[in-house]
Symmetry: C2
Subunit: 388 residues, 2 copies
């Protein structure tokens, strides 16, 4: 735990089969006007919408609707949401959905009271929040992004071919989040598996950086082992409550700032995946899956000690008598086999990407400098090419 | 992660060599009157007292002193502290010290505005807090108890031969805690090692309970492995910053409510240790060390699957071709060897206990029901006897 840091995560979590009852404890803390934010309408089919609306009404709230948030929320939609929140004079933004809906709710939250173009302000200039925010609460229906307990918000601008994340401070974190593992049961398997890899990637982005002797690395190894174990169960039985509840909990702790404390982080897989996402609109977790192994195999020689540790502590590779490189390669091979087994998309072609997108993808890939090798443009091209 | 639970931990942590600067961010949030609580005066020798007082003065605070908090704070001292806080009209209680000082500060915090005997109310009747609290902040100088980020408070009543803990809710958690690993460098080795075992015991109390398939168990295995690794370094070089910083961070996360979420817990080692403490006034961590192995060896047959998992995942025992019992025993043997190696006190005699205290210790041991075996009085006697 080197360096100075602060930690504070004030989000209150209600977890379990009865978690939605937590709304009755939280709603009285806010004013009457609630902007109800959700996605494509699956919550209307599975009954969650009706349950939430009933609780809002029982608590005497005025409900203003903002549905139709897309999987990769756009800067145009963000403008629309800000207008709706202003018109509603919203006291609370209640996001019901997955990470995209929570991300979007936070972006609206910090933009309602600022007289500026939100996309330009937060996602191009990365300005700090200088205006009053509208508090956000979440009812999670899909796991993966960790958005329910952090300040992250990713917005896509199709005209500019950019998908950009801003990490807001603790005052923008959801005030509360409702985590009921059963709400995730109806999600199609493709989405579930994509979410599982998103979680794994969040952990690996923070793990594969630095050579400090750090408690965070031990915590991440525990999270990874629990995730692999529970994912294997959930893939075979998506309604296994215990496995799905573990996955939901791991997702939250993978990206609520804890495991990054006292260490450096990478996030280059997300930069590559988000660039792919901006060009294809493919599911986030799958874009990460498709670029991960080409990236990790490329940087492994620069961080071989950590990759060998990963192989032993996460994948149970026996290191006896082997070189660190051999152990590291064995770990990545085990990871690849597991990724295929649970049904992840392993290349960009299957995500609808075509070779003519390559130049654009290379150009819209942000370069991070926390990993074992800072990539140049040629290396980015090489890795993306190998991902087809 | 079975069952319904809530999680919220609002304590803000300032961690690192410059952590004390966090006081300048926190102090302006509170009124002028600060009750400065500390222990036997070691902070006056190592300069921490002077640094804190300088920052308090620079922030225009009126300082009221409450020194002399003993290692096991008493109900009499608690009365004295409440009177001091009332006389000061304290707006903030600033605890500078280890877990005992933080525990005591919280006990004063919830008692200042209640017209009742605090010992009777919170530590005998376990009443909820119904009055306004006085906010607490901590500057930690000794690690182990986790008191810097939880609601725990342990108070001793010598007349009644009772040492009792009350776990208060999140409104009583310290508002902020300052964690500078360098502040722990001057601690005598006996205290450091005792603190390390206190941390280990906190984790094990939460680990050795239940047979759920739980992410918390994976997190605890990570914390334990990091603790063992860092303790080995710190025992040889108490000024190794990275090892001491890891230990400090592990201590906080071992007992800030996270790893207990979604599972049952035991705490029987603490019940036994606290009974020993009430009769001998021995150092807390050492009382836990002295009773742990007799207790774990006694209950192991009732939770052999978990004890075998512990042996493999924490102590690296090779399970190939062995019975679960053999693996579990090997794990406890490895644990015993490690405990001796780092210099823990392994029996009650060396803590000043005598056989004539046995009856009293048995009587003042609270029985918990979350472990693998609910102990009866004979079993408690047997375990305490085996601890001499």
């Amino acid at each position: 735990m080197l360096g100075n840091f602060t930690y504070c995560n004030p989000t209150k979590l209600y977890f379990g089969k009865d978690a939605l009852n937590g709304l009755n404890e939280e709603l009285p803390k806010y004013g009457k006007n609630v902007l109800l934010v959700y996605g494509g309408g699956s919550i209307k089919k599975n009954g969650i919408y009706d349950k939430v609306v009933a609780i809002l009404k029982a608590n005497g709230k005025n409900i203003y609707e903002d549905g139709g948030v897309m999987p990769n929320p756009t800067s145009e939609k963000l403008k629309d949401g800000v207008a709706r929140a202003k018109a509603a004079n919203a006291d609370l933004i209640l996001a019901v959905g997955g990470g995209s809906v929570c991300d979007y709710a936070k972006a609206v939250s910090v933009s309602v009271n600022c007289n500026d173009d939100a996309w330009e302000k937060y996602f191009i200039r990365f300005d700090d929040v200088a205006c009053d925010i509208v508090p956000v609460g979440c009812v999670l229906t899909m796991v993966g992004t960790g958005s329910e307990m952090n300040g992250g918000s990713v917005i896509t601008n199709h005209a500019q071919k950019l998908k950009v994340g801003h990490v807001f401070g603790e005052n923008v974190f959801p005030k509360f989040s409702i985590l009921n593992p059963e709400f995730t049961f109806t999600l199609p398997k493709y989405q579930m598996v994509s979410g599982i890899y998103d979680i794994m990637s969040h952990i690996l982005e923070q793990y594969f950086s630095g050579n400090d002797d750090n408690t965070s690395d031990y915590l991440m190894e525990g999270l990874l082992r629990s995730l692999i174990h529970s994912a294997d169960i959930a893939v075979n039985d998506p309604t296994d409550y215990e496995a799905r509840s573990n996955i939901m909990w791991i997702a939250t702790w993978a990206l609520n700032t804890l495991v990054a404390k006292g260490k450096t982080t990478d996030w280059m897989v997300h930069m590559l995946g988000q660039s792919v996402g901006a060009h294809t609109d493919a599911t986030h977790g799958m874009t990460l899956a498709a670029v991960s192994l080409p990236y990790y195999r490329y940087i492994m020689p620069y961080g071989v000690v950590k990759f060998a540790r990963y192989a032993v502590n996460v994948w149970g590779v026996n290191a006896d008598g082997k070189s660190a490189t051999a152990v590291a390669e064995e770990g990545l091979t085990a990871m690849e086999a597991w990724m295929k087994k649970i049904g992840l998309v392993m290349n960009l072609t299957d995500l609808g990407a075509t070779q003519d997108m390559l130049d654009g993808m290379v150009k819209s890939t942000f370069v991070k400098d926390g990993g074992y090798k800072v990539l140049n443009e040629n290396e980015i091209r090489q890795i993306l090419k190998a991902s087809f």
